[in-house]
Symmetry: C2
Subunit: 200 residues, 2 copies
DNA sequence: GTCTATAGTGTGATAGAC
DNA sequence: GTCTATCACACTATAGAC
């Protein structure tokens, strides 16, 4: 069906979709999801509100797309690092680096996707929460592995995992700059603090 | 003017205000500020939507009241602990304990107030942001003091302060329970991780 | 302090032409 | 793929009675 369309036509449609999602994320972040109208989104890309419904069946589906990029993508792109080589601390450092880099790349989407989940349909909400929960669980499991191997001290791994992820995700609301150097400054500080502690 | 009203009448009005704010925070947290109508708030406390305007001039003023409790109150109640006795680490521990206890006590307000700031008027938004910025700056200054005294290692104090506060505030989105014991479990894990590090 | 009634505006979404 | 036109409904806020 869609595969039978000319390539140039398909590509143009796909680009429109990402254009809509990017524009919507920006306005949702500034004003809040519910305060934004379909006309507001359409205006910023130069089309009419009704035309959006050719690309998305509802406003909620646009939000759902945003939420997927900040939950599904990290699961698929970052979590494999936890199965790589190295000690638990090295693997956690790799994950934190990748996480903050992805977060900088999709900064606006993170601002929206992590806080507008109540506006999703129950089904979409449940799926998004599953990704978040799984990501959190994998980090917790790594902490447990580090404690078992003796590399990490014994502390509540669930609470520690939640704290680490809250610390990472919070970066989206204040980070400035757009290069890997900007994110690495953050990760260096965070890993120094988390692994070796504030105390001299 | 208001002072000349009978005491019983004044008290009843004040109670209505907090009743409205509490109810509104609950619904805002569940559905998002903009998605909630004045009628929704009114319904849960058994009055008509129009009656809310006797207590608040607008919906935004209700949100503003919520934001104040999660920004002004911590400044006034927690920051004095930073001027108390003890080493920087001890004073930071005291602040973190007080912060998470206050957060648990006003959990729903934190969930709303920290994320719905874009919906405030520019003036209210600026005031709320000043409280947040000041709170953050005081924590950063304490870290700097600890580094100067040699108790803390040298690392980016601004980034570290932001990370610590993101970690603390994130607790509002997942903590269960409602006792000081529940919060202390979190603070013990966080202080162990932050001060002495994950590494054994 | 709460009510009824309503003004005025904006909303998400659809139908159907081009 | 985008348009115009429109439906049906919900919204914040106000006026004025009780």
């Amino acid at each position: 069906m869609t595969d039978s369309l000319p390539v140039s036509r398909r590509k143009r449609t796909a680009e429109r979709r990402t254009e809509i999602v990017t524009a919507a994320a920006r306005i949702f972040a500034d004003q809040g999801y519910a305060a934004v109208g379909m006309r507001d989104i359409a205006d910023t890309i130069g089309i009419r509100g009704a035309s959006l419904y050719h690309h998305f069946p509802s406003k909620e589906e646009i939000l759902y797309a945003i939420c997927l990029t900040v939950t599904k993508e990290p699961v698929e792109r970052n979590l494999p690092l936890l199965d790589g080589p190295g000690t638990p601390a090295e693997r956690l450092t790799a994950l934190m680096t990748a996480h903050v880099r992805h977060l900088l790349h999709r900064r606006v989407e993170y601002m929206v996707g992590l806080h507008e989940r109540p506006a999703l349909t129950p089904e979409h909400r449940a799926e998004i929460d599953r990704y978040l929960y799984y990501y959190n669980r994998r980090v917790r499991d790594l902490l447990v592995a580090g404690m078992r191997s003796g590399e990490f001290r014994e502390l509540n791994p669930s609470v520690a995992a939640l704290g680490i992820l809250d610390m990472l995700n919070g970066v989206s609301s204040w980070i400035r700059g757009d290069t890997d150097e900007d994110t690495d400054e953050v990760v260096v500080t965070y890993t120094a603090m988390l692994f070796d502690g504030l105390r001299a």
